[in-house]
């Protein structure tokens, strides 16, 4: 089972909460839109916090069975 974050670029407004909450998994790109840089560097709980704190609902955290 792994936790995979997804970012909806249309909804993202570049607030940047996720950059800090997801501990290195997410950065803002040159357009100021959140992008996954390393999905493994944050724990599932941290990714869920990033999902919860996103002000536009742009982050989805999926639980995937291998």
């Amino acid at each position: 089972m792994s936790t995979i974050p997804e970012i909806d670029r249309e909804l993202c407004i570049g607030s940047g909460n996720c950059v800090h909450l997801a501990r290195g998994a997410i950065e803002l790109d040159d357009e100021g839109v959140a992008t996954i840089v390393d999905g493994t560097s944050a724990t599932p709980a941290q990714l869920q916090q990033a999902e919860r704190s996103c002000p536009t609902g742009a982050i989805s955290v999926l639980e995937v069975d291998h």
Partner: protein, 402 residues
Amino acid sequence: MTPAGWPSVPRAVDDTRPREVIVVGGGTAAHRCAVELRRDGFDGKVTLASGESQPPYDRTLVSKDMLADHTADAVALSERCEYERWDIDLRLDLRAECVDRDSRVVGLSDGSTERYDRLALCVGGRPVVPPELDAPGVIVLREAEHAARLRKGMVAGRHLVVIGGGFIGGEVATAAIRSGLRVTLVEAAAQMLEPILGDLVGARVAQLHRDNGVTVRTGTPANAVSSKGDGFEVSLADGAVVDADIVVLGVGMAPNIDWLDGSGLCLDKGVVTDEYCQSSADNIFAAGDCARWWHPDYGELCRVEHWDTAGRHGAAAAKAILGNQQSFAPLPFFWSDQHGVRFQWAGHAPSWDDIRIEGDAPDCFVARYFRSGRLAGVFVVGQPRVFARARRELVETASTRR
């Protein structure tokens, strides 16, 4: 562009590289300022002095998850170990009490003084508590401990009265209904959110609350709150007297600037800054809810109480401190979650000439606010993707104005 009334003698802007930066505050502006200093390569001393007992956390959850869920702790914006990793001296339970601009010293609540090359004021605001409503046990929401206190009292069947029909009031009402309490919301204006969004939109928000079981009383301020037995008696201007087990006040906030009286800083409903976050004193910057900054797109001083804006503001102050100043011209944005519906606002519309609303349902509609024929703001309920498009429309409108 500098605010009207700015010192007419140009400030002697300090071009020397700072070696010590003190950031005062415990919210997102303070956190972002400190972190961005390091991310932008500053290697001098950074102190983050917060008056709270825990590191900066997501304050927006104080009126949301932290009321809904008994297990919800504060969500720290960065863990303590990360402040160590960045070599940010995080000092808690420490308030700034005075500033000596000439000596560049800030006095702190433990009696110590700290010298700074640059000072960032990110002290936010405090809930307004009118004396006539200030009975012992009345709850205001600002900090994690307030949420914990309120959550403890939210037992099913109790009657909660929330005074104030703004976003705090709406979210408290939401959490209380979800927890099985009886809820009465009291709003002085003709409708909930009327001062910010007008009465048409306000009426829909009030309807959403009524549809979810909240008793909404508008057009009547609360005149007094007094203790009665284990609870309270709330007296309304329309003559009604309402008994309550819990009273929550959500009647606005004021910037935390009283302690700066006598500092010589230009203060006017906030710490006044130019578009680069610089106050009237060189070497002192301000960001977040306490700051009233010159917004170049709107040609006026702005102070907003928005989480998203505050974080960006802290980062902008960090850049200005390092000499990489950029004009701080964000598109104001805020959101609120009420009865399972997301409200989203973007834009700047302290007044408007016209509002156009699409959609009939109280939990699904779009309201566009126009000033002088131009789209100035959008308020979208229950449609995040529509909001995203409307917000982009506003961004384009703002950029054509420059």
